[in-house]
Amino acid sequence: MDADKIFKALGDPTRRKLLDLLYARNGQTLGELCDHLDMARQSVTQHIGLLEAANLVSTVWRGREKLHFINPVPLHEVYERWVRKFERQRLSLLHDLKKELEGE
């Protein structure tokens, strides 16, 4: 896992939105992703490039179409390394409290 690349890739709202878009519907083309973003196609391509470099997005060619898939495997490694090890119990209490206060 290249943690620097992962955190850099996540440190941008457009790239986080791209991951959300792929989570909502996996296997989209560049064109489909661009429809949801108010931004030049070339900029979207660059953002996707950084996500691919961090292995957060993988691509598959289907005929002439390049499809993008969210790859959460590195996120799981980040979770194991940076979240799970720190006091799981307290996190779960805080999470419950937040849910209650926000009325979810």
Binding site: N55, F69, E80
Partner: protein, 154 residues
């Protein structure tokens, strides 16, 4: 009309060899160490395979057929809940592609032909990232992670 299908592509890079990665998927004594399950088959095209929980109950959690096998680079299997094994439409497909990548191995797991929104689609989305992280951990450090771990109850 057929139901809408969905697919997922998972990629992980592992400091290991294609042979070791392939064995970790197909050899029960290795799979049980990072997956909590064994994949049991004679690994011939057309043969059955079973995903068996590696405990005393030996519950069969997934069944399917071996579609294609080319060690150490490619394995394709079908995948269904045993309770739906009689229904051909319930089978999805899992392809493992193993390629040498610099001094590492790039393992791609493609799970397709899944019914969109089904319990199986939800389940595998939670499962594969954990299993693949655990596989990477086992091959790189000699230790898998607990794939059944849950947050501690408050």
């Amino acid at each position: 009309m057929s139901k809408e299908k969905t697919s997922f592509v998972y990629v992980t890079y592992i400091r290991s060899t294609p042979e070791k990665v392939f064995e970790a998927i197909t050899k029960p004594e290795i799979a049980r160490r990072y997956w909590g399950h064994e994949n049991v088959s004679d690994w011939k095209p057309g043969s059955d395979w079973q995903h068996v929980r590696a405990n005393e109950e030996r519950t069969v959690n997934i069944v399917g057929k071996v579609v294609e096998i080319a060690p150490p680079t490619r394995l394709v299997i079908t995948w269904a809940n045993p309770s739906q094994a009689a229904d051909p439409a319930s089978y999805s497909r899992v392809s493992f592609d193993v390629e040498a990548y610099d001094d590492m191995v790039r393992l791609t797991v493609t799970h397709d032909e899944l019914e969109a929104g089904s319990g199986m689609a939800t389940g595998i989305q939670k499962g594969w990232p954990i299993v693949l992280s655990s596989l990477k951990s086992l091959l790189e450090t000699g230790q898998g992670i607990d794939v059944f771990a849950k947050p501690k109850a408050a």
